[in-house]
Symmetry: C2
């Protein structure tokens, strides 16, 4: 089978590709052998993936590619490409173009193929729990569920939610076989802090493990839903493999998360890496970030994903241990753990 991963050079996209290429030994999805994976992204895909003969990298903007997809057959698509929340808030046109117009161009290419007689292409879309925001007319439930009314409070969230509805309707019409899944915050992200308000959720684990200080901009009582990159990738694969009947309907579903407080994250860090590493996290309240985060849900429920067998971690230590395992060979990522770590 041939697969397309948009955003395939990114953090989740590349991990998904690696997982698929090794799955069930020789690289299988939905019981079929994967002949080719095309990684479409604005950035070049990682070298280890491009070295695999089954991988083709394709660099450029999605809506420049999309028209060409009318004449190209894919069995399945993971549509992960997206401008991120901060970008969309700063540059409205960029968000509309990258997140809405690109998705529609992709859907229209698939519809064109279906109308020429091809089977509806299976498509998994990575939406986000950013579709949920507090609305003065509708108080937030403590945990947002599949059936919570989305009232997005960012352009990113609005665009993701609009795409969910496009995908549901293109699926209802039989143009595609689409499934939208709302990802929770993925931790621990590698790399450097970025401008995102959620950046500290990874930073307070990643920086101490590297032996660097990390500032904590919110109260330790703040709660949030998180999942490891691997649980998110495994979940996307399960969404792909689900039958239409098992998916139930065409509405987007929530992916599960571990609902934790910052305090529980710090306790887990101390348990995994010891008190000296934990002590590198310094509280320094940032009112701007604290204000943004106060508007986020304190956690999720994911009844429909649960019924598909999709699970997040059940404790934050496992999420930290996944990051440590991923970075065993990295020169500096675990410097703090090696030099200050009490136990593992």
């Amino acid at each position: 089978m041939r697969l397309l991963i948009t955003g395939g050079a990114g953090f989740i996209g590349a991990r998904l590709a690696r997982t698929l290429l090794a799955r069930e030994g020789d690289g299988r999805l939905d019981g079929r052998r994967i002949e080719q994976i095309v990684l479409a992204d604005q950035a070049t895909a990682p070298a280890d993936l491009l070295a695999d003969a089954r991988v083709q990298g394709r660099v450029g903007k999605l809506h420049e590619h999309a028209h060409g997809l009318r004449d190209e057959e894919f069995d399945g698509i993971f549509h992960l490409a997206s401008a991120v929340s901060g970008e969309c808030e700063a540059d409205f046109d960029l968000g509309m173009s990258s997140n809405l117009d690109s998705t529609r161009a992709l859907l229209d290419a698939l519809r064109h193929r279906q109308q020429k007689g091809a089977r509806p292409t299976r498509l998994v879309f990575s939406s986000s729990i950013a579709v949920f925001g507090p609305d003065p007319a509708y108080p937030f439930p403590p945990l947002v569920g599949d059936d919570t009314l989305p009232t997005p409070q960012t352009s990113y969230g609005a665009q993701k939610h609009i795409c969910e509805h496009l995908i549901a309707d293109y699926t209802r019409k039989g143009f595609i076989d689409g499934r939208a899944a709302r990802l929770v915050t993925v931790t621990v992200r590698p790399g450097r802090p970025n401008g995102a308000a959620s950046s500290f959720f990874s930073g307070i684990i990643r920086e101490p493990l590297a032996g660097e200080e990390a500032l904590l901009p919110v109260d330790a009582s703040v709660a949030h839903a998180m999942a490891s990159p691997q649980s998110m990738v495994d979940g996307l694969v399960k969404v792909y493999e689900a039958s239409r009947e098992a998916f139930v309907g065409r509405s987007a579903l929530n992916m599960p998360g571990l609902n934790v407080t910052v305090q529980q994250m710090l306790d887990a860090l101390e348990k995994v890496a010891g008190p000296k590493v934990r002590a590198l996290v310094k509280p320094q309240r940032d009112e701007r970030i604290a204000g943004i985060v106060a508007n986020w849900p304190r956690g999720v429920t994911a009844r429909r994903a649960g019924a598909l067998g999709i699970r997040a971690e059940s404790n934050f230590e496992d999420i930290i241990r996944q990051y440590i395992a991923d970075n065993e060979g990295h020169p500096t990522a675990l410097k703090g753990l090696r030099e200050l770590g009490g136990r593992r």
Copy 2:
């Protein structure tokens, strides 16, 4: 003030224009005198409206007009233009273009003006309770409320709901001052039966009053939310005049409807027009129509609109009487009532 009504030659648009031009004596909205109303529509506006010096008709497709609106100042817009449900289901591209792309072109023209320094234009958007549909994952509540999760089951409903979210986000960003209101089924529509599944809701009143037989394709126990054209117009005006604080948030609200069964409609017809007129309604079940209607909500609640003082009729007789009053001068519309009518 200058106003634009898209779909201004239509059934609701023209009535809205007439109402506004006569309001508070010399034609006022939000306390200001109306200098001009532009009626934009694919059809020519009614002659009585075009005869008013304050009215300008503009014939053509909205998305051909929209770019020009960048250089034209309107204080307020009622955006009613829309392809209808049946058209959108039959011609997917038409629906996407007429209902989604046109709205976005309009919003972008208004955004362009705002970014050049103009005040955000106030915009009332006529959405529809067609945003609600039964989803296997989410059983329908008996009555759909402002906070019911929309899971549209038609392209029309999906497009309307997507526009609600665009309007909410353009409003959040300060580009416009937008308010989306979901209209219930408007009865009694004038004219002939059309292909819409809801056509009979008007037909079973309109045809007997004209002395013609009407077929009833569903059980008399079917329930639905309805409002008269005038209550809908009055509601749109109240949505326009509401302060942002009174509107509460930026999410779309339900317009109120009278939740009635077909039996109650027929009883009201008998009460207003007598048993001989009522007897012109002949049950003849149509499985296709009955199946479609079975998927519709049995009624609405409209808490937020209620708080703005928006009301539908409290009994169906008043809805029938409005239609009779509207058609007093019509040569044939009330022929049945005149010849067979028992009492009024």
